[in-house]
Amino acid sequence: MPIPSPFHERTQPLCSSYRWKDWSGYCAVCSYDTSHEREYFAFRETAGLLDVTPLYKYEVSGPDAGALLARMMVRDMSKLKVGRVAYTCWCDDDGKVIDDGTVSRLGESHFRVTAADPTLHWLQALSRGFDVTIEDSSMRLAALALQGPTSRAILRDAVDPMVGAGSSPIDALKFFGVTRSAISGIPVWISRTGYTGDLGYEVWVEREQALGVWDALMAAGSSHGIEPAGLDALDVVRIEAGFILLGVDYYSSHKVVLESRKSTPLELGFGWMVDLERGNFIGRDAIAAEMKRGSIWQLVGLEVSWEELEALYAGFNLPPSLPATARRDALPIYDEDGRQVGQATSHTWSPLLKKYLAIASVRRGSEAKGTKLQIEHTVEYERRKITATVAPIPFYDPERKRKP
């Protein structure tokens, strides 16, 4: 049975819909209201406050911390500067992705790793011979994501002023930066990261002091349109942002039985993380070989034709209709000759972009931008196909996300 998070005392009375789900063993809100619409627009127009405590967190410290993570991660973590965060994935020896997450360099020899799945065993297995200590801080630390265009103004109001500092530490915090700070006297880490593809921050705090941070952010946010937000709204914005999700868009190589179910960094669009010249890291040789040989799959964005959708429904004398929430039921993707070339693993209507979007994996040859593919769509129990065009991801990428 899932357990309450340290913020439960606050989130539970607000969750008038009683809609919860299990996220890594925690009770997590799907949507506070019967519909997630207001929370979705908070992420995009004001600010949404999301409890992300269920993320797995690990503290890696000691003289060899950087070297250990450089070995484990596809991206070179030894180069990560103090006060910076990197998004990366990590692989097994065969170059198949285990998980993806962030690595923050909090100090010269202190890194924090976040992961979607438990990762302690993997860190420990790799750490033999390295002078490091590894702590599973998942239970100790609570976390909140504050995401949206007004998140900066809210944090600026919420954080305690620093003695001697002229401008707010929040304004100095760059995209993918992390800093120590305090909110209502409570020490916190604030990183300018998130899963919404928008301006946003994540706040990390000791669980005993979690409620104080929630209260301070809600108070500071009251004049900036803050809304507690749940996972239904997050699922729509993360698809707009083109972020993939472990267990939905790909599967951990540690968990699947079928080899064909595993994915490589190149197939998932993580090729930009790879630097073959930097020395060995786990999965390097396999990735190098794949680079020569070419990948089998490619993750792509798809935009589904609204005109065809409308026409399809009109054929049944119905107005077009799409599910109100983002969906994870995989849909087969066909090429123009009717051959199945892949599957859409996440799909949603984007109220902001006015487009029906999907994240899909397709076989090599169908991944070029503008390729016309077909996606399955069921109307009145009948399975039909409509055109879906390969489009670049992220679908939505506002300038404010990385603006200084």
Binding site: R38, E45, P149
Partner: protein, 533 residues
């Protein structure tokens, strides 16, 4: 003088003018848009009337903007964002209130306080109206059918429409006849029994018209408001991010990307006629005397302005001039926009909550609304007006400084023709504003303490500032005799005018007013189809 030869000049950069220009440019035509004011948008406008506070001065919600226009012009990429309008709250003097929102069960419970029976019927009514709206949709996405035409293509189209109508069954046809002829209250009373529900629903039938909720023909206007759709969901209304002006900006940005040239602060004085003849337009003459030539001139102005000012009465046949003058403008509403120091509280529902993110409708009873019309019939603004109140900064904080708010109040009735004459509006403007604030304060006791700035727009102001003749927000009433093949003039419903090379593309043409864009797009389509340029 300018040497550039344009295919088309669009007079007026309202949303329809911009849409029309964008479609023409998309088809490769060279288009110039001339706007009298300093900014584009016309009545689709956001203005910083008070520093730091952006008012959606005129139109304030969107629903009817055609989805195919949004796609064709790629508006989301140009900044078009629509936020949902959460709910409608109607407070009553006895302290009770009605909430209608996207949660059907919550809505049902709220209506059930007044009538458990109506609470059940409400959902079915919504479905039936959405169905009606959906089936009428082909009419608003195409030029009006021309019953006099002998063109086989047109006859085929009418036959297709006829088949579409027959195909919907008898019940649908009867419902349609009813909706075309009945009053909003009578129509709603066929479904509902409690006036706490009928009154706030009936107001959709009078918005922008000089009619009362008991006047025949208002049921149709009700339907016009039910045709709204957002993302395929009918009867959905939204708030444009950045105010309605942001929609105009998005369309203008798309138009510019397509090659349209837009000049602001460029008032047009009148049409330029070919060789001094009165029959054909050759371009326009600006206030500063500049002449700009084009193959066609497209008027984004209302029918009165187009014919009586742009063309000039002396260039019109007297019979035509009479017809134009008979086209009813009769503005009946005003706007009061407020800059607020903090959020106001509703007496019936104190505290801050999602209910303030939606519309607040001041329409407590049928008699209240009919009395409001009584005042207007005899040339006075309503002493107790109907009001549609929104706090758009609740959903879109970019409109006001943090913690501060803007409030948009649509007020009816404010008849253009006061018994003292329309020109007396400047003398009555502040009294009108006071009446609005006093009435609203009965439901929001702390409102007066929060007002930092007040903008009052009477129909006279709407005419002066935005060029809406008699302050009519729809470029002419949406009454049955002024719709479809009779809009704006019988025989001239296809965007073409009796003046050669002069076309019309705005709300005074089919399918009418609201931020719909269809007149502009259909004008462009018709014009290109006829190879006018």
């Amino acid at each position: 003088m300018t040497s550039t030869q344009y295919d088309a000049i669009v007079v007026g950069a309202g949303h329809n003018g911009l849409v029309c220009a964008a479609y023409l440019a998309k088809a490769g035509r060279k288009v110039l848009v001339l706007e009298r004011r300093h900014q584009v948008g016309g009545a689709t406008t956001t203005e910083e009337i008070y520093p730091g506070y952006k008012f959606t001065c005129c139109s304030y919600v969107v629903s009817l903007l055609r989805p195919w226009i949004i796609r064709d012009l790629d508006l989301p990429r140009h900044g078009y964002e629509i936020l949902p309008l959460e709910a409608t709250v109607t407070p009553f003097p006895d302290g009770r209130y009605l909430v209608r929102d996207s949660d059907p069960e919550r809505t049902r419970r709220s209506i059930a306080q007044f009538s458990p029976r109506d609470a059940e019927v409400y959902k079915r009514f919504g479905q039936e109206m959405a169905e009606l709206g959906r089936l009428i949709k082909p009419l608003i996405d195409e030029p009006a059918p021309d019953p006099l035409s002998r063109d086989p293509r047109e006859l085929l189209r009418i036959a297709r429409l006829g088949k579409h109508v027959r195909g919907q069954g008898d019940d649908w046809l009867f419902a349609n006849v009813k909706i075309m002829t009945m009053s909003a209250v009578d129509f709603l009373s066929e479904y509902f029994e409690c006036e706490q529900l009928i009154a706030p629903m009936a107001v959709s039938g009078i918005i922008g018209t000089f009619l009362g909720i008991r006047s025949p023909g208002t049921a149709y206007v009700l339907l016009h408001h039910y045709m709204g759709e957002i993302d395929g969901s009918f009867r959905a209304w939204g708030l444009p991010k950045g105010g309605t002006g942001a929609i105009a900006d998005a369309i203008a940005s798309s138009a510019r990307a397509l090659g349209v040239e837009i000049r602001t602060n460029a008032p047009v004085a009148h049409l330029l006629m070919q060789n001094g003849s009165s029959g054909a337009a050759a371009g326009v003459v600006l206030d500063n005397g500049d002449e700009i030539r084009a193959k066609v001139v497209i008027s984004g102005l209302d029918p009165h302005r187009t014919f009586l000012k742009l063309v000039g009465e002396k260039n019109l046949e007297p019979e035509l001039a009479q017809q134009v003058k008979r086209f009813k403008m009769r503005g009946s509403s005003g706007k009061v926009n407020l800059a607020l120091d903090a959020l106001p509280e509703l007496a019936c529902l104190p505290g801050y909550g999602p209910h303030l993110q939606g519309g607040i409708t001041i329409a407590p009873s049928i008699d209240y609304l009919e009395r409001a019309y009584d005042d207007a019939k005899y040339g006075a603004f309503s002493r107790k007006p109907f009001m549609d109140v929104l706090i758009p900064s609740m959903t879109d904080p970019t409109l006001a400084p943090p913690g501060k708010h803007v409030m948009s109040i649509f007020v009816q009735y404010a008849p253009y023709h006061l018994k003292e004459g329309a020109a007396d509006w400047p003398n009555q403007r502040e009294a009108f504003g006071d009446t609005v604030i006093d009435t609203l304060s009965e439901y929001m006791p702390n409102l007066k303490d929060l007002i930092l700035h007040r903008q009052v727009l009477t129909p006279w102001d709407l005419e002066q500032i935005y060029g809406l003749t008699e302050g009519n927000i729809f470029h002419g009433e949406l009454s049955l005799e002024q719709l479809a093949f009779q809009r704006p003039l019988a025989g001239w419903s296809r965007y073409q005018t009796p003046v050669k090379n002069l076309w019309m593309c705005a709300s005074g043409t089919h399918p009418g007013g609201g931020i719909m864009g269809a007149p502009g797009a259909l004008c462009a389509r018709t014009l290109l189809g006829k190879r006018a340029v």
